[in-house]
Symmetry: C2
Subunit: 167 residues, 2 copies
DNA sequence: GAAACAGTGTAATATTATAACATTGACTAA
DNA sequence: TTAGTCAATGTTATAATATTACACTGTTTC
């Protein structure tokens, strides 16, 4: 049912509006929490959101240098990692472990275990909120007497677009 | 139901027998498949199995040097990565993405998507085969029109042992 | 024996991530 | 105002993880 919504990533759309909305939401959330979404952090959030593909830390670093309207100065890795750490703590971005990369969170307002569908061809990743998976994970953890389970679910496959173009 | 069996990792037991069994099974499987479980590959498999904690590639490298009965010669990274690649291809070890580490597979005879419970305290990891999770993942992928889904499920929590000793 | 090949050795380097310390600017207390 | 404190960022160096490229060895195959 939410599949169609999630598939937005695969349809033509004005993605800059997605980015704007995400940044606006982030601002509001940080404001509510008394957290500072500084220009640097905001810029990193934008860059991450701008890409439908999860973005590596060093790719972000390059974009900071390249895209920057103001300062073409080369940044150092800690700059990016610190911004990403902040954004992760506030649930604004997720880290995709299987790719060592980061992606904007589509539900930053609520804490949630994150599940991802990742295309092995075009590398597009979409976040899904699937209660059935979440419940199954909870139950499995409980059955093994694991407490405070926090699941990382990364499903790699072939996305609708790439199924057409690939052998 | 399989919870008790999985919890073996948390009970006292003669783990060297687990290792022996795993290696014997690996030998048999490789034999059946016409794959060569060379001394080096076997040694890496043993080292990985010997630890209940997932082992990093460089940790394995150190153990190859340290533990080795015969040659105390320092090996280079590709040696380990190549052995691990072989073992992964044959389903004999799994990679835990969230830890950049490797662990012996408990069901090497059958292809399967692997699910793990990982203790955030003691780092012990156990593999579980949970049909409910597997089915939920399949359904989620299908709903989003993703084909050939291959799920990586890593559940971090507090294991039964560490719940007693931790705040 | 020569060719082809799998497995391993070796050197160099790429990629990802963090540690440690310096600087800046904003806010606060006196 | 001044000094103190703190969060954020800058800067340098390095750690940890992983791969590329090429050389060597021994076996199989013809």
């Amino acid at each position: 049912m939410s599949a169609r919504k999630n598939n937005l990533a695969f349809r033509d759309h004005d993605h800059s509006r997605c980015v704007d909305t995400a940044v606006a939401t982030a601002k509001r959330l940080c404001d509510e929490r008394g957290a500072k979404l500084t220009p640097l952090r905001e810029q990193v959030l934008q860059l991450v959101w701008h890409s439908h593909k999860p973005l590596g830390a060093y790719a972000i670093l390059d974009l900071l240098t390249t895209d920057s309207t103001a300062k073409p100065r080369r940044q150092a890795p800690p700059t990016v990692y610190r911004a990403l750490e902040f954004l992760q703590e506030h649930g604004l971005v997720h880290r995709i472990n299987s790719l060592n990369a980061f992606i904007g969170c589509t539900q930053p307002h609520a804490y949630h275990n994150s599940h991802f569908l990742i295309c092995r061809q075009c590398e597009t990743a979409i976040e899904i909120a699937d209660n059935t998976i979440a419940t199954a994970v909870q139950n499995a953890a409980h059955a093994a007497r694991f407490s405070e389970p926090n699941a990382c679910v990364e499903i790699t496959g072939l996305c609708p677009n790439c199924q057409r173009t690939t052998r």
